[in-house]
Every structure is written in structure tokens, then in C-alpha cells.
Amino acid sequence: MPLTEQERQQFTAIAKKIRGDLVDVTQWSGGAHIGGSLSMVDLAVLLYWKYLKLDPAQPDWPDRDRFVLSKGHAGLGHAVVLANRGYFDIALLKDFNQYGSPFGMHLDSRKVIGVEVSTGSMGHGLPEAVGLALGARVLGASWRVYCIIGDGESNEGSIWEAAMAAAHYKTGNLIAFLDRNHLMIDGRTEDIMSLEPLADKWSAFGWNTVVVNGHDLDALAVAIEAAQAHTTGPSMIVCETVKGKGVDFMENNPAWHYGGLSVDLAAKAKQSLGV
């Protein structure tokens, strides 16, 4: 069901704060994957503040839901979300990317509290998410697995290997999201390697598939709850998003897949975000 007005205001404010933090950490780090982090912020806020069964004080709580960031280059976004959710102090991100910091470009699950799977190389997270989902079945556990994949990442064969396996094994406890921001490093996805009709592909692979505006918190909430109710197989929520969302000079610009920010440019980015 749609969000309450209170939730809508709360989550919108959190997403705005996180986008501002992303600008800060990008500036501190010397360079980060800010474009694809900005595109998934709204979804991540909804998951971490409403739908994931979790307890930041007990990151190893056995019954927690498992979240896998398959598009692991957006580790910046994941780290900032975890910090804001209370897993650790955001001040720890001042050394992001630096030797000795637990936080590198691609988050290491053995170093960063709250990260379930070390990702970064494309096409690894979804197969592990399928394994986690089936692991829950073997163990008789009730937790769900949530996984965000990228659209450029969807070029990888392993994504479709995992897609087949999840449908074959009817992983009703797996809900995946496709951050469909239409850009990859070298340009537009449809110019580099055509993906469309992408939602049809997921449907044809046997997934319960819907397409939503990935920046519309209410539409996302409705889609997530429908996916949770679909327990006979895996669900894919294709989130139509804007890479660089919220920062005017980054939006839809492939140059901001990865980049650094000077003090001045960071100020301009924050001005654009209204933070």
C-alpha cells in the first residue's frame, strides 16, 4: 500500500540527506561512483527504513533479511545508507578509499559492518543472492533476500544464469531490483549493448516482473509489497531511474559514472540538491 504522509515526508528527508552525504564523501574520497549511487538512493531508503527486517545493533542477527548490492561499484551509496541507518558513524567515511580505512570503492563484507556480500565485479551478487535464498530454504529460515542489480551489469551472462536458477528453484523469498538508469561507463546502455525489451526478458525468464518509477516512493512501496506477497517465485522490480539523480550537472551524464568533486563543485552539487 502507499506510504503514509508521515512516512513519505520522513523518507524524502532521509533520501535528501543521504544525497548530500554522497556529495561529501565523494569530495573526501578523491573520487567515487556517485552517479549510480544517486540513482538508487530512494529505493535503498525504502528498503533500509521500512522493508528490510534488520537491527543495526545486531548486524549478525540470524533472522535478519539479507541485502546484496550486486552493482557493487555503488558501494559508496551503500556505505552512506548504512551509516545513516546507524550501523556506524558517518565520520568513518572521511577516509573512504584510503589505505587503512575499512571502506574502499567496493565494500568488503569482512570489513564493513552490515555488508553481507563482497561485490564489485559485475554479475556476482545475484548468483550469491540466489544461493542465500535457497540457503534459507534448506535451513527452514524465514528471511528474505533483497538484491539490487545494475542495467549495465545485466550484460553479464552470470546474471541470466542466476535468473534461470532462481526461477527454476522458485525462490519466492528473493526480490531483486534493477536500477535502470540507462547509462554505463562508455555511454548509453542501448548504444553499447542493447538490453530492451528488458522487463520482458525477466518475465520470459519466469520472474514476477513489474516496472516502476524508481524515484517514486509510493510506487516503489506498492511494488515491494506486491513482490513480498508473491511467494511462488522470484520477483524483479525494474526501477526506471536517473543516473546522478538530484544533482543537475550529473543527471543523465555518463561522465558522472565515477568522478571526484572539488570544494566548489561539491558546493554546486549541494546547491542543486537543496541541502
Binding site: 539479507r66 563484507s109 569482512r110 553481507e116 556480500v117 563482497s118 564489485g120 565485479s121 554479475g123 556476482h124 545475484l126 548468483p127 550469491e128 543472492a129 540466489v130 544461493g131 542465500l132 535464498a133 535457497l134 540457503g135 534459507a136 534448506v138 535451513l139 529460515a141 551472462g157 552470470s158 544464469e161 542466476a162 534461470m164 536458477a165 527454476h168 528453484y169
Partner: protein, 338 residues
């Protein structure tokens, strides 16, 4: 078949009739009875690798992912993250090269408790040709951190390795063959320790260091040379990583002539590992490596391929005679240092 405390053990009578794969399937199934956390995965090679024995007994704990080796390791990693102990089986060449980055990044980087039991190692699937041979796996795997690499000599040692790998809380790769490796051990009643070479024959003139199917041939060559008055030490160096440097140093000090033999490219495998220890030791030692000479092998019966490349009994015996006749410069202070 005999029974012993803690489960079944295998004797030469059983091993004579079973391949390494068949013994693996039976031992894994036996372990599965005791360990509900064990799950099995394969990529349409369940029957070929004999992990199907486990799957038949525990269908709810077995997952065939189809012909998709990347997802095979990814799913195994996820199951390990869930707290299970996955055993993953496919052919060696697919485990290491087709899906190598998944083995490395998912299993080894995250140091997950996953056991990769790779069959059809080396040229053991001879007739299938180079597409199905695996002569590069040991070189590749030695360079991956966190991974334990084991190459059992025969079916009985396979059983020992499968049991022993349960004591390691991390990724393990066990390379076995396809066919009927001649038995080296008569029963499981011997000490097997991961990372410790086994001296199968004592000797003072030269040491032959072998792993996998070549261990049997090293023993046969040793027996052959014994009749010629040559004392050949044979080491079963079943663990490529962690490596038993001490056993190599002792062989250098006590026999001063070493030959390695493996069903693998001469580059980067057992021979490379031994050479590294010898070179770092700085002691003079006549040394030769036997293996596949950096070439893609033709198809053929495994016995023929081993013979052609000199990694069978005849080839090892010939190389022993050659290395025995080789001169090398003695260190003046050798006796003092030994």
C-alpha cells in the same frame, strides 16, 4: 568393505573396483548423514562427478544449476554465507578456467567454507582432448590467497582428503581424476595431514616428488630402480597449498637430487612449487621436472598420454637414470651445513 568407528573406511579391495569419483560420492554421502549443513551443487555433471550419490540421498540439499559454472560458484557462496557447507563438483577445467573469477572472488576473497571437488583433472579425460583436459589448474590456484589445494594420489587418499577438508573453515580445492587410478594405499589406516608430504618409500640417492595419479608411477619407478641398486625416495606431496617446504629441504639435504612429476603443465604446478623452495634454500641440487611440456595434449587414452609425456613409470625411471648421471657443483661446506 570394512567398518570402523566414525563411519566407513575403504580397503584396497574396494578401491580396486572404484574410481576416485565413486569413492568421493560415497564418502560425501556418509558425511552428509552426520552433517546436515552440507549441501551439494553441480552443473549438469552430477553423475559424471558422482556427487549424484549425495543428491540421490539428500535431494532437498542438492542443487543442479544446469550448465552454468559461474552461477554454480556464486550460489555456493551464497549458501556458505547462509551458514551451510557447500560441496561443489564439476570438471577441473570448468571449475578453474570457465568460472575462475567466481572461485577467486566469491569463495576465496570472502574466505568461505566451500569445498570444490574437481574431477577429470590433468589429462585423465584423455580421449576428450584438450577442451576437457586441465593442465593449468594448479598453477592458477596456487596463486589465489586463502585457498587450500589438494591432489590425492588415489581413491583411498581421496577419501582421506574429503574427510580432512571438513576441518578447514575456508575454501578447499581437491583435484581428482576420471578413471581407475591404480591404488597406492591399502587402506585408510595411515596418517594424512593437509600440508604434510608422505614419504612412501625411503631413499638416499634421489627423491621423486609426485602428486595425483603420478604417485603410483613414482613408486613403481622406485621399485624398478631398486633392482638396479638405486635408492629412490618417493614423496606423495598431496597438498600443493599450503606447501610442505620442510619435506623439500630435507630431500635436498639428504638426497641432493630431485625430480618432480605431475599430470599438469610443467609451468607453475608441483614442479614450480618445489623449484621455488630449492632456489630459496640456496643449496646445490640436481633438479628436473616432469609434466606436460607447455603444450595442448592430443586426445588419447590417459595411459598413452602419460607415456608420451614421460610421466608414467618408464618416463620417471628414465629421468631418474639421467639425473643420477648429472654432474653439479658441490658446495664446499655442504657437509658442514647438512
Amino acid at each position: 568393505m570394512s567398518t570402523a568407528e566414525g563411519g566407513l573406511t575403504w580397503t584396497v579391495y574396494d578401491a580396486n573396483k572404484m574410481t576416485q569419483r565413486e569413492i568421493y560420492g560415497l564418502v560425501l554421502t556418509e558425511l552428509g548423514e552426520k552433517h546436515p549443513e552440507i549441501v551439494g551443487l553441480s552443473a549438469d555433471l552430477a553423475k559424471s562427478t558422482k556427487i549424484s550419490d549425495f543428491g540421490d540421498r539428500f535431494p532437498e540439499r542438492f542443487f543442479n544449476v544446469g550448465i552454468a559454472e559461474q552461477n554454480l560458484f556464486g550460489m555456493a557462496a551464497g549458501m556458505a554465507k547462509a551458514g551451510l557447507i557447500p560441496f561443489v563438483s564439476t570438471f577441473s577445467v570448468f571449475a578453474t578456467l570457465r568460472a575462475g573469477e567466481f572461485l577467486r572472488t566469491d569463495l576465496c576473497y570472502q574466505n568461505l567454507n566451500v569445498k570444490v571437488i574437481a574431477t577429470h583433472g590433468g589429462t585423465s579425460f584423455g580421449s576428450a582432448g584438450a577442451t576437457h583436459h586441465s593442465i593449468e589448474d594448479l598453477a592458477l590456484l596456487r596463486a589465489i590467497p586463502n585457498l587450500t589445494v589438494i591432489v590425492p594420489a588415489d581413491g583411498i587418499e581421496t577419501a582421506k582428503a574429503i574427510r580432512a577438508c571438513m576441518d578447514i573453515k575456508g575454501p578447499v580445492y581437491i583435484r581428482i581424476g576420471r578413471g581407475f587410478e591404480p591404488p597406492v594405499f591399502e587402506s585408510e589406516d595411515y596418517d594424512f595431514e593437509i600440508g604434510k608430504a608422505i614419504e612412501l618409500r625411503p631413499g638416499t640417492d634421489i627423491t621423486v616428488i609426485a602428486c595425483g595419479a603420478t604417485v603410483y608411477h613414482a613408486i613403481e619407478a622406485s621399485r624398478m630402480l631398486e633392482r638396479e641398486g638405486v635408492s629412490v625416495r618417493v614423496l606423495d606431496l598431496h597438498t600443493l597449498k599450503p606447501f610442505d617446504d620442510d619435506a623439500i629441504r630435507r630431500a635436498v639435504a639428504e638426497t641432493r637430487r630431485i625430480i618432480t612429476v605431475e599430470d599438469h603443465n610443467r609451468i607453475g604446478g608441483l614442479g614450480g612449487a618445489v623449484a621455488d623452495v630449492i632456489a630459496r634454500g640456496g643449496k646445490g641440487c640436481a633438479f628436473e621436472t616432469l609434466g606436460i611440456p607447455d603444450t595442448f595434449c592430443s586426445h588419447g587414452y590417459p595411459e598413452d598420454i602419460m607415456h608420451i609425456y614421460g610421466i608414467d613409470t618408464d618416463g620417471i625411471a628414465a629421468k631418474i637414470r639421467e639425473v643420477l648421471g648429472r654432474d653439479f657443483e658441490d658446495d664446499e661446506d655442504w657437509e658442514d651445513e647438512v
